[in-house]
């Protein structure tokens, strides 16, 4: 099972699990909540994004394999060790890893505590699921953009390597070849990162992860209130008051310092006059 099979399986699981919640009578409402009116999550959008990502992944993988095979000396001179090293260098997965640093920073930021009794809050849970599906869709769309960029870089590199080979020029070492690949890939990535497509898909990931975080906080606030615990908003109020009080204390200290300076200056003047 590759990672995209896992994506699909996860999507199906969430779809099945999610549909269970939309069945009348499923779950148990919290006291006083009545029959919830639940939003329908955009699972079709998620599936479409995953399909596009799978397509991009298949193209990138085919190109990666072709590159690695060609660069290790052709079918006449197979070398499994060198082949493995080259396969690693030209692995498009690394590019998903590169963008995933940003994604994982967002994911870490979005991940909240596991709340065991989420089932009591269907409406909020549905909103949370929608936010989750939206984030996954946004991530899939962003990864497809990154894979397209990898394919573009690999294609550029392959053309250059072909041209070199035709001219009888060769890379002196694997490291020299790797350096050229890094240079080529860097140029493509820098260009892609400034493109409207990249910035738009990344902004969508940021928005979706923020929405997921807020949906989680909404559930946490609901439960905190339900169990008589302070909510994030209440703590924020306290912190706001504290910051404002600190400002006032600082201002008072400054006034006192200024008054001290004035009085000291006045005092010394009196002293000087007295001695004069």
């Amino acid at each position: 099972m590759d990672q995209f099979d896992a994506f699909r399986a996860m999507g199906e699981f969430w779809t099945r699990a999610g549909m269970g919640f939309f069945t009348p009578g499923a779950g148990q409402s919290a006291p006083g909540f009545g029959a919830p009116s639940l939003p329908t999550p955009d699972v079709a959008g998620l599936a479409a994004a995953q399909a596009k990502l799978t397509e991009a992944w298949n193209a990138a993988t085919a190109l990666s394999e072709a590159l690695t095979k060609s660069l290790q000396g052709g079918p006449g001179a197979p070398d499994p060790t060198a082949g493995a090293v080259l396969a690693k260098i030209f692995d498009p997965q690394a590019w998903l890893g590169g963008s995933a640093e940003f994604d994982s920073a967002l994911t870490r930021m979005a991940e909240g505590p596991q709340l065991a009794d989420l089932w009591q809050t269907e409406r909020r849970y549905a909103a949370l699921f929608t936010a989750w599906a939206t984030l996954r869709r946004a991530q899939s769309e962003h990864q497809a953009v990154m894979l397209d960029a990898w394919t573009q870089a690999a294609g550029t590199f392959a053309q250059e390597a072909n041209a070199r080979a035709e001219n009888g020029e060769r890379f002196a070492s694997a490291r020299a070849m790797m350096s050229r690949w890094i240079e080529t890939a860097n140029a493509v990535l820098l260009e892609v990162q400034r493109s409207e497509t990249f910035l738009t898909s990344q902004r969508a990931v940021l928005r979706a992860s923020t929405d997921l975080r807020l949906a989680q906080q909404d559930i946490a606030a609901f439960l905190a209130e339900f169990y008589g615990q302070p909510t994030r908003a209440e703590l924020d109020d306290v912190h706001k008051s504290l910051t404002e009080l600190r400002r006032e204390v600082r201002a008072l200290r400054r006034e006192r310092r200024q008054a001290g300076k004035v009085s000291k200056a006045g005092g010394s003047q009196v002293g000087e006059n007295a001695h004069g």
Partner: protein, 376 residues
């Protein structure tokens, strides 16, 4: 999308036989093994940063003011207060003994102070740039004036810290003898006038967001997490980010000194405090998006930061190859301030290279000390 079949006819472009390739892989294995030994031998003390002796002289909330112990006879100049920003920490100016702006300045007889903003947490959600400039920084300056029995101090701002000192010098010009800015953005949109590949990505990225995106991000997080900004910085050097812990580290393994330098730098990079929520909103919206500083439209503590009110001498240091703060964004200060005593110093290297690059950091220390010496 490129044709996956395009490299099909590729001839072997590598001038190596399979045996030579295998030897290269073998060499790689040896280096990895040597590297593992190096890692095992390294202790915390080997990679300690910011080791120049200093004493805590003042603190308030999470903010601490330190005074460095002198390393040479005093030149008798007004004290210098080093102000770093909230993205990263002041320890960059004192990374290690032989790459330390702090030590270079102390060795040239300057009286040095540094402010550490601490680690803002969720409870600091409502702390703003007003608090940093009009509050903490103003109190630090007041303390130094009293301790040194001087009416004015010298300010040395670094990056976002340079923005803080610029605002302070405009709001309290009577307390500043001279101001040195290093790698400091003033015109946050000037990157578009000097669009070099890979330069100014943070400017482009921030402008791609809407003000509401930023408000919601801060609502959700309470701060601008340091790790998040770290990931944005990583995107500025995409392939380097992917090769840093394999190729770059491998290169460093040949030389223990180089290896330890690599680790110290990583230690500094990893120490990235969170930006308090309100301060982050001002930084990203008022400055990066709306570009209010260069227009003298930025408001702090109810007062407008008018750049023309800066009347002290200004030394503006920028890195010629700075991809984070493109030179044009710093140099924009020139015609905006109210003094003709304005000097620019463009140093070789990138954003951090100015402080740790062999040549640049020596030029930086002596350049600052000489310039301040002439304005004592």
């Amino acid at each position: 999308m490129a044709d996956p079949e395009s490299p099909k006819g590729l001839a072997a472009p590598l001038a190596l036989t399979p045996a030579e390739l295998l030897a290269e892989v073998g060499s790689l294995g040896r280096r990895l093994s040597e590297g593992a030994k190096l890692f095992a031998d390294v202790s915390d003390a080997d990679v300690e940063i910011a080791t120049t002796p200093k004493d805590l002289v003042w603190s308030q909330d999470k903010v601490s003011l330190y005074r460095y112990r002198p390393l040479a006879e005093s030149k008798g100049l007004p004290p210098v207060l080093i102000v770093y920003g909230l993205i990263g920490r002041y320890t960059m100016a004192d990374l290690q003994e032989d790459r330390s702006l702090v030590r270079n300045l102390l060795n040239l007889g300057l009286d040095l102070y540094v402010v550490d903003w601490g680690n803002p947490g969720r409870a600091d959600r409502y702390v703003s740039i007003d608090d940093y400039v009009d509050g903490y920084l103003a109190d630090c300056v007041a303390f130094i004036e009293e301790a040194a029995e001087r009416e004015k101090v010298n300010l040395l701002g670094i990056c976002e810290g340079g923005v803080f000192t610029t605002c302070y010098a405009a709001l309290y010009p009577e307390t500043v003898n001279a101001m040195v800015l290093t790698i400091t953005p003033i015109d946050f949109h000037a990157d578009s006038r000097d669009a070099r590949a890979g330069h100014g990505f943070i400017n482009v990225w921030t402008r791609s967001l809407t003000p509401e995106d930023i408000d919601r991000l801060i609502d959700a997080q309470g701060s601008l997490p340091g790790a998040f900004m770290g990931s944005v910085f990583s995107m500025m050097t995409p392939m380097r980010t992917m090769t840093k812990y394999n190729l770059d580290l491998l290169d460093a393994l040949d030389d223990k000194k180089k290896f330890l330098n690599f680790l110290r730098m990583e230690k500094w990079i990893a120490d990235r405090p969170d930006h308090p929520g309100e301060a982050a909103k001002q930084w990203l919206k008022d400055l990066y998006q709306d570009n209010k500083l260069v227009q003298s439209a930025f408001v702090l503590g109810g007062r407008t930061v008018n750049l023309k009110a800066i009347t002290c001498p200004v030394l503006n240091v920028f890195a010629q190859d700075d991809h984070i703060i493109p030179p044009a964004t710093s140099q924009a200060l020139k015609d905006k301030i109210g003094t003709t005593d304005y000097t620019e110093m463009g140093l070789p290297g990138g954003h951090v290279g100015v402080f740790v690059g062999g040549k640049a950091q020596k030029l930086l220390g002596s350049g600052i000390a000489d310039w301040l010496g002439e304005r004592g």
